[in-house]
Amino acid sequence: MSTQNLAPETLSHDALSKRDGNLVGRQFKNNLMLGLCIVAAGIGLLSLFLVLYFLASQGLRYMSWNLFTKLPDAVEPKLGGVANSLLGTLLLLLGACLFALPIGILGGIYQLEAKGPFANLVRFMTDVLNGIPSIVIGIFVYAVWVYPVSQSNPGKGFSVFAGAFALGIMMIPLIMRTTEEMLRLVPGTMREASLGLGATRWRTMWSVVLPIAKGGVITGIMLSLARVAGETAPLLFTILGSEFYPSMQPVNFLGMSFSIPVFNEPVDALPLRVYKYASGPDTDQNNQAWATALILISLVLIFSVAARFATKSNIEEK
């Protein structure tokens, strides 16, 4: 090799020869770094596994039927249950769905149909809202609802309404994004066919696109439920917690009379119960916290599995 040719490129030549010449060193570095990745993965997976292991083992050890059927027992915590918290969580999720579903799905449809900078801004802000910490949503609902109400009539304010409102605000951006995703998967030819037959846009959406994407939309709803079911921080500020079942009120509807839970009273929820029992000094309550946590996770898992199932059946249909 002549050195004259290489003179102007000394640097790159050095780098090149270093790279080619030191094969053993390069292989050593390769093995070292890949090994470190495996070690990192090992540490990460081990810690994650430990979380699951303790939840499953401790939760199963203290699981009992009483948990599902009884109220908390102040005298003998061991014999008590968390039935009111389970009921409360379901009520809160129902309430959250009632107002988050229509807004979320309609907003998702808008994000599918609309184009241009404004629609992109809407998408972006949806993601931003999605990233706001849940405790901020909690203090927000406290500031606009619970606090003003409790100032004007003491003892009121903390309620299923307030809790469901907080959870619903968290669900809206989630449902919007997943709905849009799912509607986007419907082949454009389907819509073209419908529009070509003279159907209006809303008719196309209602009779063609939505029925095809139904499973996917349900998936989005389930995932958002799974996410908010375990939220504790917003509930701290909105539902207060309670040791009893929600009170019932009779209603007459189309000649039938039955009773429904009252929505404007404090209520309990599973995550709140876990927090309360875990932070307390009582060993029996600590143990019940593990079982309650397992119930809560099972609930979250049921939603997640339902989500996968809904998408799967939808794809198979196609």
């Binding site: 990192a40 997976l45 809407v122 901020v136 919007m176 986007r184 846009r201 504790t232």
Partner: protein, 344 residues
Amino acid sequence: MSEQAPQREITNMTPYLSAAIEDEVPGPPLSSSSGSIGDKIYGAITFLASLTIFVIIIWIASSLGWQSLPVFKQFGFSYITGSVWDDGQKQFGILPYIFGTLYSSFIALLIAVPISLGTAIFLSEMAPPWIRTPVTFLVELLAAIPSVVYGLWGIFVLLPFLRQYVMEPIGASPLGKFPLFSGFTAGPSMLAAGVILAIMILPFITAVSRDILRAIPRAQREASYGLGSTKWEAISQVVLPFARSGIIGAVILGLGRAFGETMAVTMVIGNQSPQTPSGVSFSLFEPGYTMSSALANKFTEASAGLNTAALVGIGFILFFVAIIVNILARTLVYYTARDVQGGK
């Protein structure tokens, strides 16, 4: 030409990536369709529904700002720089809480970023499918576990472990003389908060970075192998630079979660300001407060008026930090994903 983008599944992570990876709607431009009354109503209703997003964000900002106005008026900047929170003396300063949030998140990132990056590289570049599939499932499962449950685990598993195997041995050894390890060895501490945060954001950062790594076209790697590089050289010189801003975005998203995380931290951090004049201590073993844990704790004993305003003020600051962090991270993830898609 390269392989197709990997088949997307709907997972818990979807909301974080969806903005980035979206295709144009196939189909006719709908705006040009005939203006029937039904379509006008349809357009108006869906438009109104999407406006809710703006209404909610503006409503949150304005109501939190309005309710916390008294405390900003009275204390001004010393609300942020003050270290005393005393309802009796009507003194409200949140410096220790801000510090606690930053410090615990910093510890969490220090632990979580190397581990989750290693795990993401392992999952996307090295693991055979029979490992990848169950591990991916495990990681997603853990991302779905509520934070209060992590807190429970923290109290009864992590705290005793740290006390027995980390804090007491270090406290007893000469290392205990260092300011970094001074203080009690009881368990609840900044260290515990940092570790539990790390465990919580680990699945999250791992999942998002793995998705980004997997989205990088295989041709890029093959070109690098073709030039004779080792696997690590292909990863470090081709794949990682390609994914860099996306991974930074994933880390910032994780940071955003750590900032706002409440329950798990509240349960292990001790909720007590360090006994220093400034209320700030760099010791890992001292208990502390974060902004959100202070909110969750002090809320129960807050009296109406200035005290409540001071609490809402914390929420107001958290809200703005979250908005900034999120806009930053999502912009990064968005542009990386767009570049990756454009590059195939």
